[in-house]
């Protein structure tokens, strides 16, 4: 009888002692998973390409700010429609289902005037300051600066545009 009880106590003791072993094994496994994931994400880092693509999209897509001749439905990349440069318009053409993907600031100067539009203004301001810090949790900033022709509805004017896109390094 005593022997049986001792055996049970041993099993119970071993069971309790297994808990830290399992926790340690889980931590080791998760460390391996996260480290591999970080390594692969670093090898497939595409933040520079993403930011450049989104900047060009804002600049040249008719859904964003590029001028489109409504009568012949032709898009003129490089000509900016002044009426389209607004935060609402940019939010419509750059709308992500997940918010933590990109942010942008569009600064258009023409004939002594300046017009600014944002995509996710708060994030754009904060992420711009954090961009450039080394590491995979940081941000990448891409600035596209171009001389452009600005169409204000009546006439064409000369201007300059700066499209700043900031993306997290994922």
């Amino acid at each position: 009888m005593w022997r049986n009880r001792k055996g049970d106590e041993d099993v119970a003791f071993e069971s309790v002692m297994m808990i830290p072993v399992i926790i340690l094994l889980t931590i080791m496994f998760l460390t391996y998973v996260f480290m591999t994931d970080a390594f692969i994400k670093n090898r497939t880092q595409s933040a520079a390409a993403e930011a450049a693509i989104y900047a060009n999209r804002i600049m040249f897509a008719k859904e964003c700010i590029a001028y489109e001749d409504g009568s012949i439905r032709r898009v003129y990349p490089g000509i900016v429609d002044l009426n389209k440069v607004s935060t609402e318009r940019i939010s419509n053409c750059m709308n992500f289902t997940k918010e933590e993907v990109a942010a942008a600031i569009i600064n258009l100067s023409y004939a002594g005037n300046e017009k600014i539009a944002y995509y996710q203004e708060d994030k754009a301001r904060i992420w711009s300051r954090l961009a450039g810090i080394a590491g995979s949790g940081s941000y990448f900033k891409y600035v596209l600066m171009n001389p452009v022709i600005v169409y204000d509805g009546n006439k064409f004017l000369n201007g300059n545009i700066s499209v700043t896109v900031v993306v997290p390094k994922r």
């Binding site: 999209r57 992500f96 289902t97």
Partner: protein, 154 residues
Amino acid sequence: MLRRDRRMEKQTFISVVSKSKMAHSRIRRAEGEDSSMIMLFYLLMFATLLVIGIKYVRSVAGGSQLERTFLARDSALTISVMQAAPGIITYHHPFNLSKSKLTLTVQNFSTNVSDEFGFNSLFFFPETRGLNVEDMLFTERISLKKNSTDVSKE
């Protein structure tokens, strides 16, 4: 008379001890079952961890994770560029998914590439109001078509 009393007492004692032994045995058996259940639970946990670990290591060692991540990003950025470009575009991706046993799903403005082990890589692309991106599933070649209203599977 005295001898008969002694015999009765002895029988009573044996009966009580026997009942006590049976009760004790039942308790021991129940405790034993508890211990077995705990050990079985731990074994199951170990087995689950081991199976997931082996699958994950095989996925990494076979390069499947790198392919998944690359393909999810590449196809999302391709769709993004196609959305922004004016006119009609047809695009054929050079990668054959069936060779690497990968599946690409385009849904809810995201690309999701899953491998044979059940691991996924997800990447988002922007939604453009007025330009629909259809839900698509690719298991072999990736062929996309873009016109003025939507991006769809060719």
